[in-house]
């Protein structure tokens, strides 16, 4: 075993020792010479070589060969990549899973490894107990067959919280019996691990399986410097890494989608990295969660709550008459208080309402125009928070005097009161501590807050319910009324420091915060949350999926602040009365540290390693190298030239491509087309009768020879044509001997034939029976011809007339004999109105080339010559026979001329008329 490679026959590797010997052997042998026949050798005699360098095989060729041999040796030694190591062990096996969110990232690999382990245990016949520490069974482990557990594997999922350390340690301590333990750890350090490990080790050997990948988590988003600060942590430093963090939320149309994306770069040595994400407030307020893309874990998801939301607050003040006195401006303190935590909206009231802010603050605004009031009411009814501050104007106005104004929580007495001023009695009043029903409950009331003037509420029956803050003497200071889904809050003092010192104190900010006018990063104060019940809205699964909470029970507020996450307090979004709190797996304080195991505990990765035999690849490589060697040797000895190089290259390409049949992809037509078109070629139709086909071919060969000798037509060797397969359009002329037993062409072949005939081709049908047929006589060939031709597009025929152009295309002929001498040769009938040309012995027949010539004179036999140039068949007897053969040749020549030149000779009838017109 060398690294990840093992050998099935390692002794064969000793053969590598022989390589140096081989080196010397190969080195001594020069490349074999080529013997060449070359007449110019006479000129070479006496020429000496300049140097003797190529006497030895070049080193690179040697290296190539050595490499090939080495590959062969190693290949036969049977190398195996990742040879399976058989885990020996017996007895019961406890498989412990952490199964927390930190596992979720590579749960698939864990599950595969688990499956592997179970299969192994199953093969070894061991009983197995599978326990998830995050979800401890109520009793001890139940050892069952591995197969039973395999079926349950898919049901085990990581949870979204950490292992309850105490419970796990206790559970481990109660274990009995002896067994081996496999611990699939999530890789995060935890204080309880040591105890649990000791408990497991007390029962038998422990092996830990851990993912080498660091666990990554995303801390809750913080809001800093007008930007969202996203911080990611990881358990292990070491390598630089980049993660993309995406902000998800609803788009304006209400569809969930990714709203923004930022990249976090971990420096190599850092375990923490942040990025600032700057978003427009509209977008930012829609963000529901951030998540690290590509990491499937609850830790990589950070739900956002109100802490991130920056409320839009519209500050509306009465017309500012006293310019320049900033500290006296009605909204100055509000602005100062809200600016850090809210987005302030400026503008006229009617415009601001359209922007649908979360809060509208009216500082000493008494009367509203009718339309404004209606819009404002509708806005409050829809969930808006209207905060009003009193002031001199409000005190002087008649707003909510007799009747309760819908936009005022209480009726006001006329005037208001001033306490402790120069013109009044008494001390300025302090605030009374907030009652438990007040939203301000729990806020400390500082002593320095004094109220010197206020507007007074009418003591209506429902006044006590509406007071949420009052002065020490019990007069309401802040009143509230719910209107539909929204509320109206009235501060009975001014928003500036004119009437009270409240705006100067920190209490003012806290109060605004409690009213959810502004929002602070939520410090979950258990006292603060005590007694409240929070309803889970969304919960996170271990994989980081956000699910609807469904029917999960509500959670007490103090738990929210203090308790550890667990099955009863799942990470998610909890909704309270008027705010939402997100509980995330990774909090702002979370540090992820890798688990540290004692050296005695073996730690394995999760890789499921597959055995890969390398023998084939190595031998293949050796073969390839040898091929290269062949080429190199050829090239070196100068034999790799010209056509051989081309052939070799093609062969090599075929070998490399591994497609021995690729050449078949070419159509068969191509060589045929080249052959048929590079020269004039006569062709005959294959009948299936070998004898007839041979004769036809020989006949065309004889005719081609005759044409070659006598005319300027120089045909190449004739071609046999298969009607079904071959393209016909290359051939000017087809000779078709008819045999009784030839197969009828297919429909496609007929289509091809008809196309051929229509586009100017000519077929010479030869029934070869003129010796027995004729004058009403019938032969099998004639019947067959009729059958064959029935579906051909053949025009009306007539016996060849005396003035047909065939009689004079090259030779002047009147008979068309072949081996037989029959006058029954048929061609396309002339037009009925053809007239004899003036002064010429023929009619005006300017028609096409006749598409068919039909006869039975067995022309091919008369033309046929064997390959040595001798006649194959006798024709007639003696001199008359030779004459007949000569005429047969002449007919053939005329026929080919007719095909190639068309009715050119027929045009000659016009010569007198043409000369006449030219004025000759």
């Amino acid at each position: 075993m060398i690294g990840a490679i093992g050998f099935t026959a390692p002794w064969l590797l000793l053969g590598l020792i022989a390589l140096p010997v081989l080196w010397f052997l190969l080195r001594a042998v020069p490349p074999a010479p080529i013997r060449r026949r070359f007449p110019g050798v006479a000129l070479l005699l006496g020429l000496e070589d300049d140097d003797q360098q190529s006497d030895k095989t070049p080193w690179w060729l040697l290296l190539l060969r050595m490499l090939a041999v080495a590959l062969v040796i190693i290949g036969f030694a049977g190398p195996v990549l990742n040879p399976e190591e058989r885990r020996d062990g017996s007895g019961p096996l406890l498989v412990v899973l952490d199964a927390t969110w930190a596992d979720a990232g590579d749960w698939g690999r864990r599950a595969a490894r688990l499956e592997d382990l179970l299969a192994e245990a199953g093969q070894a016949g061991r009983t197995v107990a599978l326990v998830s520490l995050a979800d401890l069974p109520s009793e001890g482990p139940s050892f069952q067959s591995a197969e039973a557990w395999s079926g349950r594997l898919p049901g085990i999922e990581p949870v979204a919280w950490a292992v309850d350390g105490e419970a796990a340690r206790e559970w481990a301590g109660e274990l009995e019996g002896s067994f081996e333990t496999f611990w699939m750890s999530d890789g995060l350090a935890a204080p309880w691990r040591g105890g649990a490990l000791a408990a497991f080790e007390a029962r038998g050997p422990v092996t830990v399986f851990e993912s080498p990948r660091p666990v990554t988590g995303l801390r809750p988003a913080a809001f800093e410097n007008d930007a969202i600060l996203l911080t990611a942590v990881r358990s292990r430093a070491g390598e630089p890494a980049t993660f993309a963090v995406a902000a998800h939320g609803l788009d304006p149309a209400g569809t969930p989608r990714r709203l923004a994306r930022a990249e976090i770069d971990f420096a190599p040595s850092e375990r923490e990295a942040s990025v600032e994400l700057s978003l427009p407030s509209e977008v930012r307020n829609r963000v529901t969660r951030f998540e690290i893309e590509g990491v499937r874990s609850a830790g990589a998801v950070s739900l956002t709550d109100d802490a991130l939301r920056r409320r839009e607050v519209a500050l509306i003040a009465a017309r500012d008459e006293r310019e320049g006195l900033r500290l006296l401006a009605p909204t100055h303190y509000l602005e100062q208080a809200l600016e850090p935590s809210a987005d302030l909206v400026d503008g006229a009231l009617s415009e601001v309402i359209l922007a649908n802010p979360d809060v509208i603050v009216l500082a000493d605004v008494a009367t509203l125009a009718g339309i404004e009031e209606e819009e404002l009411l509708a806005w409050v009814d829809g969930g808006g928070l209207l905060v009003r501050f009193a002031g001199p104007r409000m005190a002087a106005s008649d707003v909510s005097r007799e009747e309760e104004d819908p936009l005022m929580p209480v009726r006001l007495r006329a005037g208001g009161r001033t306490i402790g001023g120069a013109m009044s009695w008494g001390e300025p009043k302090r605030l009374r501590a907030f009652g438990p029903d007040s939203p301000f409950f729990g806020l400390a009331v500082p002593d320095e807050v004094q109220v010197s003037a206020q507007v007074m509420a009418q003591p209506d029956p429902d006044l006590p319910d509406r007071v949420i803050a009052s002065l020490a003497d019990g007069t309401p200071l802040v009143t509230r009324k719910r209107v539909g889904a929204g509320q109206v809050v009235l501060f009975h003092v001014t928003a500036n420091a004119e009437w009270s010192t409240l705006p100067l104190s920190g209490l003012f900010v806290d109060m605004l915060d409690r009213l959810a006018v502004s929002t602070r990063p939520a410090d979950l104060d258990p006292d603060d949350l005590a007694g409240t019940t929070w309803r889970p809205d969304k919960v996170l699964s271990g994989f980081g999926e956000v699910r609807e909470a469904g029917v999960l029970p509500g959670v007490p507020g103090e738990d929210l602040a203090e308790a550890e996450l667990g099955p009863d307090l799942r990470p998610g979004l909890y909704a309270g009365e008027d705010r939402r709190i997100a509980l995330n797996v990774v909090t702002a304080e979370t540090e992820l540290a890798p688990a540290v195991w004692p050296a005695r505990v073996p730690v394995e990765g999760l890789d499921v390693r597959r055995e890969t035999p390398l023998k084939g690849a190595l031998l293949g490589g050796a073969l390839l190298l040898m091929l290269v060697d062949i080429l190199a040797s050829l090239w070196l000895s100068g034999r790799l030239t010209g056509a051989r190089a081309g052939v070799t290259a093609a062969l090599l390409a075929a070998v490399v491509a591994g497609m021995p049949g690729s050449a078949d992809a070419q159509t068969d037509d191509e060589p045929l087309a080249l052959e048929a078109t590079s020269e004039v070629v006569l062709a005959h139709v294959l009948t299936g009768n070998a004898r007839v086909d041979d004769v036809a071919r020989a006949g065309l060969r004889g005719l081609s020879d005759a044409l070659f000798r006598r005319t300027s037509v120089e045909p190449a060797e004739p071609i046999s044509v298969d009607l079904e397969r071959d393209e016909l359009s290359f051939f000017p002329f087809l000779y078709w001997p008819v045999t009784p037993d030839q197969p009828r062409p297919s429909t496609e072949a007929y289509a091809k034939l008809n196309r051929y005939l229509r586009t100017g081709g000519m077929i010479l049908f030869d029934t070869r029976d003129a010796d027995i047929a004729g004058f009403g006589g019938q032969s099998g060939n004639g019947t067959k011809l009729r059958e064959l031709a029935a579906r051909l597009d053949i025009p009306p025929l007539e016996p060849i007339p005396e003035d047909h152009v065939l009689t004079r295309t090259f030779y002047l002929l009147q008979d068309f004999p072949g081996r037989h001498d029959s006058r029954d040769v048929w061609v396309e009938a002339a037009m009925a109105d053809a007239e004899r040309a003036e002064g010429m012995p023929f009619r005006n027949l300017n028609d096409n080339v006749t598409p068919v010539v039909i006869g039975g004179n067995d022309w091919a036999s008369a033309w046929a010559v064997s390959t040595d140039g001798s006649r194959m068949f006798p024709v007639g007897r003696g001199f008359a026979g030779e004459r007949q053969r000569e005429i047969a040749y002449r007919f053939g020549i005329n026929l080919v001329m007719h095909v190639l030149t068309g009715n050119y000779k027929s045009d000659q009838v016009h010569v007198p008329a043409l000369l006449d017109r030219l004025g000759q």
Partner: protein, 289 residues
């Protein structure tokens, strides 16, 4: 000793190469004839030269009676073509002519076709054509072409050939076709002897393109066509320059030899058009006439 049928078979086999060879030669020749001698093609042969008064010694049958009948004297019709030249052809039959590289025809084949085509032209022009060997003494007529074809088809077993002068006639014309790659001594001797006999003519050197280009490299043993001469080299590519020098020197020597003896020299490559070589041959014979 030989059964007639077997004799016939042998004859057929022997005759087999002639028609194609002759056909190729005629085909080649026809391309030349069409250009230069088209009008002389038909009805040619008994070209009239002059009538002269018969002199004592003329045979009776030489008298042209038709002419003589129109006057009192007796006339003899003389015909120019009877004074035809004898053209002797030698085509190198040695084995070196059997060389062919790539798809080119064999040198010997090209040489024979050229020689035969020239013969066709010459015979049509009324000359007598024969071979310098005694195989075919100069004669005219179509039959002579067949004889020439038969005689040319023979090969010899020698590695390199040298012109034969056994059958050469004084004052005749000659065509030597060879690759002239062998020893030039015999060629020189033959040419000198021919010049002595007032024989003039044309030397046509036929070379394969490979012999001109020497496209070889690597360790090679070069052998002559018969295998009797061989030369081994480790780097054939290195020899190229010197080989080409020697070849050029040889060509120059041949040309020089031709000039000195009043012959014409031409180099033909088997990949070039045979027609041009034939034209040259035709012209060369015309020039030395």
């Amino acid at each position: 000793m030989s059964h007639p049928a077997r004799l016939r078979q042998g004859a057929e086999e022997l005759a087999q190469p002639f028609p194609p060879l002759l056909a190729a030669a005629e085909h080649l020749a026809s391309s030349v004839l069409l250009g230069e001698h088209g009008r002389r093609r038909a009805g040619m042969g008994d070209e009239f030269w002059q009538y002269r008064a018969s002199m004592p010694g003329d045979e009776r049958r030489m008298i042209d009676w038709r002419r003589s009948a129109r006057s009192d004297a007796e006339f003899v019709r003389e015909k120019e073509w009877q004074a035809a030249q004898s053209v002797m052809i030698w085509v190198d039959p040695a084995r070196s002519m059997g060389f062919a590289s790539a798809k080119h025809p064999e040198k010997g084949h090209v040489a024979r076709i050229l020689a035969l085509a020239a013969s066709v032209l010459l015979i049509r022009a009324g000359e007598r054509v024969g071979l310098t060997s005694l195989a075919a003494p100069p004669r005219t007529g179509q039959l002579q072409l067949l004889r020439l074809a038969a005689a040319l088809a023979e090969n010899s077993e020698e590695e390199y050939g040298a012109p034969e002068l056994r059958g050469i006639l004084h004052h005749s014309r000659a065509i030597f076709v060879s690759d002239f790659l062998g020893d030039l001594g015999p060629v020189e001797t033959a040419l000198t002897k021919a010049a002595d006999r007032d024989v003039k003519g044309a030397i046509l050197q036929v070379l394969d393109p490979a012999e001109e280009a020497f496209p070889f490299d690597g360790r090679t043993i070069f052998e002559s066509m018969g295998g009797s001469i061989s030369h081994e080299t480790l780097k054939a590519g290195d020899l190229k320059g010197r080989y080409l020098d020697r070849l050029a020197e040889r060509k120059a020597r041949l040309e020089d030899l031709a000039r000195r003896t009043g012959w014409q020299y031409h180099l033909h490559h088997t990949d070039a058009s045979a027609t041009s070589a034939l034209l040259w041959l035709h012209g060369a014979l015309g020039r030395v006439h």
